[in-house]
Symmetry: C4
């Protein structure tokens, strides 16, 4: 069988996805910058703010075009859209203002893809990456959401970051807390990520402890099977020698000769 | 053997339960509406409020009648009541005002029944369903319980919902908290659901991580058994050929012939 | 073999422990009542309070005598004391005032013993029992410890109970919190019990999920062993028939006869 | 084979590490004392404070020299530095003031080494040791960091210790919380340790519950293998007797004799 030419065993969608990976990552970071700048520096010049707004919409457009190309390249389009509901959400959800930042999670998605061939550490990489990203993005988003509210107590990025950490770890001192509906929705996302974080850490430790015990057990079982095999093979060997003795007596033509 | 006629292998209680499923679900939702409306809109016209009160009692009556019919249809009545202690609680508990809402959890029960044949996702469905339901119902009930207390700080449904979320996730900022005994009892239920939620998520991740390791191990074990079997069968085959050679020599009538 | 006479296979210490179980339980409850009454009713008549104090010391004396008898009955006294460090703590620790209540946990110990033959539910019984007991005793002890402090915010048993629940579940709203050193030590115990509670619930769910998967796996493995055994036994049966055919030919005295 | 002379199978680095273990532990404790004293007693005489500062730097120098010697003794220096990144951090990080205390964790490292040959309890020892050490050091460090801030509410060591406990257990009442950036960084470390603590406790209980179930399962599996082996060996024994009977008939020289 001749070797298949390079690239023949990947679909056209996969080829496209590989080529656009780095550009899309850079676009996501540009989107993040365009979102974060006006939030962190409220006294921004209106011209610059409008420019960043335009950049933000341009990145959204690029993501839309990329997804359109991928769907058109896919062999089973309906199935492709269903399996990539996450990308659909990334493209459609930005309509809602505080959720727009979810698109920057594309970075996490690309990082995840990069580490995808290293099985063992994948859960850890995803959890740490998602937690750090969520805390940073959550602090930005809550600051943006709370700024409009006159009763807000989260008014600087430092406080927002601190609040995000106390929320993700479910400590919740209560020295800072969101008062607007948008801020509270972001808090719910942070709490869910925190619960997933705690669950993943616990589960990873538990599976590691169980695995070492299970390996010892498996070795014992394999030893039991090996011992069983050895006993049966020894008995068979005895029998074979018995039959061979019979045969050699026939060879000697003297059935009554002593053994 | 002729096929059993449809319905012959289900008991009369099960037939009744299937037929009343949808009507009971609608009644539970009506009860929820009758409970929620006056809580969410305190300035309700007394006539309407009395009407909703009547509706609420009518639903309770319907649940009572349904349970009575099921017990009378059951083959072992005492055992049926014991196994359906949950339904007994749904019918008897409403005497206590803030716990009346538990009856609306009948929705969760029916949803659970619907997904009962899909084993894998059942835990997830139950946990997510119970959490969402508990947050919604808990917010309603705490608002109702706190309204009577002059020192209450949970006074709007938005705040009640936000408080319920911070309680279930055990974050507990302390910007809102119940001050009445009824409200605190509802808080305890929310905390217990939150602990169950965190425990279930962690356990699901842990079992998923352990399962993939255990499968690899099982394959190794099965391979060990297969190799053992192959070695024994090969040794037996050798022996069989040895005996067959002996036999064929007897066939030839020449016991002393060379092999 | 004649049956061993009843009681001959239990040591003298065990006989003593069985006989004193119920009286000790009642004494522990009396101690709890003598502790709780003055805490819950601060305006108690001094005579009654002194009486309760005397009762409390009498119970402590009874526990001391019981432990002395058990040590003197034991075969290996040093080892018995080491293995029953918990009882040593129960007798010695009451010197420290807020820890005196630990003795009431003897109830949990006796309940534990009662359910000790029912393996499956033991962890659950212990955890629920210990949690309920810790919340109740913790609320009592914190009220007693905080009463002396002029800045205390936990001043009624209702508030103390509510505070204990929010602490065990690690929600910690911050509407109530201890300010005295004694109260804070009790809070630490409640937090540790809360972490143990959450850990046990999660672990129980996880082990239940893992166990059902492991059982399915074990069945597959047993089937693999059974199939291997069947294959080997079938091959052996073939061989046996082959040898039997050889034998029957020798019986017929016609080695060259067709098969 | 003659026994290898003592010390010949340990590398020169390991010899050095063993000899310097106790002196380094004492130096770490001296560092801790030199750090803790001025924090706990702010009105310290400047001369004494300068002396403690000098001691602190001397200990840092000793750790630096020790690490230098170990790297120069190592066979593969680059690899040694990479594998001992923790020691690198201990030597380099003290530049940042609130993190200087991490060096005192050398105690935990040495304790860990001591218990390293006792496999089962190692996780528990590490977790408890790290938690107690983190709470103590965290309370010291937060007090030091917050003292400079005029809005600080953590102003005594008792309050700092209490705050550290409520943070590690993720209860977070909010009666005390850090307001300076340094204090908040220390809080994040405490929260992470708390999550690791909760995760380890849960995982240990879970693995213990799973292990007892897995052992029962393994026994069943080993019994299945044993039964399979016994059945095969019994069949082989039958066959052997059959062949032996054949042989003894040949011995008797009478092939047609009855069995």
């Amino acid at each position: 069988m001749p070797p298949t030419p390079s690239g023949a065993d990947v679909t056209r969608v996969e080829q496209w996805e590989r080529r656009t990976e780095v550009p899309l990552l850079l676009l996501a970071l540009a989107f993040l910058a365009a979102y974060a700048w006006p939030v962190l520096d409220p006294g921004l010049h209106p011209t610059l703010e409008n420019g960043l707004q335009a950049l933000s919409w341009a990145v959204w457009g690029a993501f839309l075009v990329d997804f359109g190309v991928r769907v058109s390249l896919a062999e089973q389009r309906g199935r492709y859209v269903l399996r990539h509901w996450y990308d659909v959400a990334l493209v459609v959800l930005p309509m809602l203002r505080p959720l727009r930042l979810l698109r920057a999670l594309a970075v996490a998605r690309i990082l995840g893809r990069t580490f995808a061939h290293n099985r063992a550490g994948r859960v850890t990489v995803y959890v740490i990456g998602a937690t750090v990203a969520t805390i940073g993005l959550g602090a930005l988003a809550v600051l943006d959401a709370e700024r409009a509210d006159p009763h807000a107590n989260i008014t600087t990025f430092g406080d927002a970051l601190w609040w995000a950490v106390t929320t993700v770890t479910t400590v919740g001192y209560g020295d800072f807390y969101p008062v607007s509906t948008g801020g509270r929705l972001i808090a719910v996302v942070l709490m869910l990520v925190g619960i997933a974080l705690l669950g993943s850490i616990t589960a990873t430790i538990a599976s590691w402890l169980v695995a070492s015990a299970a390996e010892a057990e498996e070795e014992e079982m394999e030893q039991a099977v090996d011992e069983s095999t050895a006993a049966v093979l020894a008995a068979l060997d005895d029998l074979r020698r018995q039959v061979a003795a019979l045969e050699s007596r026939l060879d000697a033509g003297d059935p009554a000769a002593p053994d």
